[in-house]
Symmetry: C2
Subunit: 416 residues, 2 copies
């Protein structure tokens, strides 16, 4: 089966001055991969018509699908539509459904509509319009000399919604694509190179149509098997067989055999065991609570948190003794143990997490350098505390502490 190649073109000066980090391309690439389309290149160009046209020409030389995001806003610097008109020898005309959509959105928001907003309903006359349920800019689908061009707004949730609702199903219908089956598991506690060494026999036993990918994130490693072929049922069966083998080989570090995040895996465990969780966060400053509450339905199992950023809050709300703070310091085993005990009582939850550390860039000392962290997890039957030393910047130290805490909790709960 011939490989179908795609290119992603993102448009906007903000990408070229480094103002915006391009998360759209990563999402689009992931979704295209899942349906068996290989992304050959990603390219970002500015709000310059000639540059956009040059990119269309270049990408269409060896790709069958070109996905374009950005440059569809209401302001004058949005240049994608004029470029599309020139490239497809087209003229703008109002699309009635898109106009209706713009009117509805403004009437729902109860805001006055400007001429520039109405202009968003204009599209090149020779495109298929992809309606946008989440915003005012419609998407466009063109075909020219065997290449499909899809233009989407750059606003991430609008783009994502349109990809999922419309673009992906339409691509599956338009192109003969291979059957692609992914199976992913999550490991924690072992680095990428050590896992690679440990599973090298398994890896070399894989047939050519099944690939293994290592996807490291936050001190964990996700392993993904991807099978490609003609018959979906056969591929699925084969990938499943190898996946079972892989699970056994990495069982010591296995967190979950589903393609979920650690926080989702924990919510699932808590729900299955019909137990609740509370957190007492100092150095993570609410990030653990945020990770958990970002998951829909977390309110079934998560009760709340006391964030004791200031030491007096540790004393007042978490009953950490003045003695502990002066003798052992806020970043100590004794402090996190006391925080944990108190939050379990105060919030009346079955399980708890407590964190305290120095995230940097300042606040470190010789005895407790930046990156020093204590974490405690437990329930009313007991608790464990562990010391960590992370060596990154503030943001990454916070992230690594949160995931280390969640993984400690997971291991602790699994005993019961």
């Amino acid at each position: 089966m011939k490989e179908v190649n795609a290119a992603i073109i993102t448009i906007g000066d903000e990408l070229l001055i480094g103002q915006t980090i391009d998360t759209n391309s990563a999402f689009i690439a992931q979704e295209l991969n899942k349906i068996g389309i290989w992304v050959k290149r990603r390219i970002a160009v500015g709000d310059v018509k000639e540059e956009i046209l040059k990119a269309f020409n270049y990408e269409s030389s060896d790709c069958e699908i070109i996905i374009i995001t950005g440059g569809l806003g209401p302001t004058a610097d949005d240049i994608t539509k004029p470029a599309l008109c020139e490239y497809f020898k087209s003229n703008l005309k109002v699309n009635d459904a898109a106009l209706e959509n713009v009117r509805n959105i403004f009437s729902r928001m109860n805001r006055p509509m400007l001429e520039s907003n109405l202009k968003q309903a204009e599209v090149p006359h020779n495109c298929q319009v992809l309606q946008n349920k989440r915003g005012t800019a419609p998407g466009m689908w063109f075909e020219k000399e065997g290449v499909v061009y899809i233009s989407l707004p750059g606003v991430p949730h609008e783009m994502k919604g349109m990809m999922t609702d419309t673009v992906l199903p339409k691509l599956v219908n338009t192109f003969p694509l291979p059957a692609v089956v992914h199976k992913t598991l999550l490991t924690a506690g072992q680095g990428e190179s050590m896992i690679a060494e440990h599973i090298k026999d398994f890896e070399s036993s894989l047939p050519a149509y099944i690939k293994l990918a290592y996807l490291p994130a936050y001190g964990m490693v996700r392993l993904r098997l991807t099978g490609r072929g003609v018959d979906k049922q056969i591929i699925k069966k084969k990938v499943e067989d190898y996946f079972q083998q892989l699970k056994q080989v990495v069982e010591d570090w296995l967190v979950t055999d589903e393609d979920t995040s650690l926080e989702e895996a924990i919510i699932k465990i808590l729900r299955e065991k019909k137990v609740t969780l509370a957190t007492a966060e100092s150095c993570t400053g609410g990030y653990i609570a945020h990770l958990i509450t970002s998951i829909a339905g977390s309110s079934d199992v998560y009760k709340g948190s006391i964030i004791s950023y200031a030491n007096e809050v540790k004393q007042d709300l978490l009953n950490v003794s003045r003695n502990t703070l002066t003798e052992h310091g806020a970043v100590s085993k004794k402090t996190v143990k006391e925080m944990l005990q108190c939050v379990l009582q105060q919030i009346k939850s079955d399980y708890g997490i407590a964190t305290s550390g120095i995230m940097g860039p300042t606040g470190g000392s010789e005895a407790k350098p930046v990156g020093t962290v204590w974490i405690a997890v437990g329930n009313n039957l007991g608790s464990v505390a562990q010391h960590f030393h992370f060596r990154f910047d503030r943001t990454r130290n916070i992230e690594l502490t949160a995931y280390a805490a969640l993984n400690m909790l997971r291991k602790y709960i699994m005993q019961f």
Copy 2:
């Protein structure tokens, strides 16, 4: 002065399957812009030699500077150096300083060194070697037919260090560059198109060498003026003059006239007024605390939070009366007001924020649909509460609620 154009090429399959979000390009683009180099394109290609060579040829057709990151690791799929050798008709030879560096790093880490690590000290014989103080892979600088090619490792902190220490100063010495001055302000409470309408006279009064950019984020809009010219002092003065005019035109919505985030702006205000903040978060689930505590130095002004995800935590820890919860519901003006009053007392802070809402996808009702939010902000002299209705997915509803709350707090504090 002739414009100097650059292209950024990032190399790695992980970028094409959407596994990695490319933050390196944004950093490089920002830094190049600051010294007056315009990034014309960013391109990501896979670990395929032909694709890399094709990108070199394409980018060198209209750019004088090509910065390449990634593909310099010790494993077999790292293909950048073979591609460079072919393109520059070169052979690999060991660079003594780079070898010494690799040896030092492994001896410091007390780890055994593999053959593949030693190979990292090999570089094409006709490049200038850029030493890497932070890792094992050296950088390379080539010149060919008037174009400079710079190859850097993809590990972010290594790449950033080398850019700052070596590449940027060397570029400034190599190319005649214009003076570039940016000034940015942040607005809240008005959409992009409405601002554009409101400031169109100002915008059309700008001289050709000063550009205005709209950068929307989380219900706010950042406006940036960029001036370019020969004489830095003159440009700076001109940009400053127009910036003062712009500030006046948007003064009703002005959050800060610095290029900072809303959370940074608030921490600055709190620090200047020598006051403290606490939060009581329900629907935002710790996200406000996380935004604030992500900023280094926030511990000076931020004391902590009570996250009352479960209603009983609202009663137990935030003294919201049972009566309020049954009569008005958890998502009500009365609930957030009571949450606010309690957290100000419990955490003994000068200012407070309280949030409660329904973030979705479930939990909505006819009277209180998904996206319904109440926010209260205040101090011991009073408080204000406001109702919002956000219409996005869970993640975005949480983000918008957090930024709406921070902006309410900012406006409230400014009265005192």
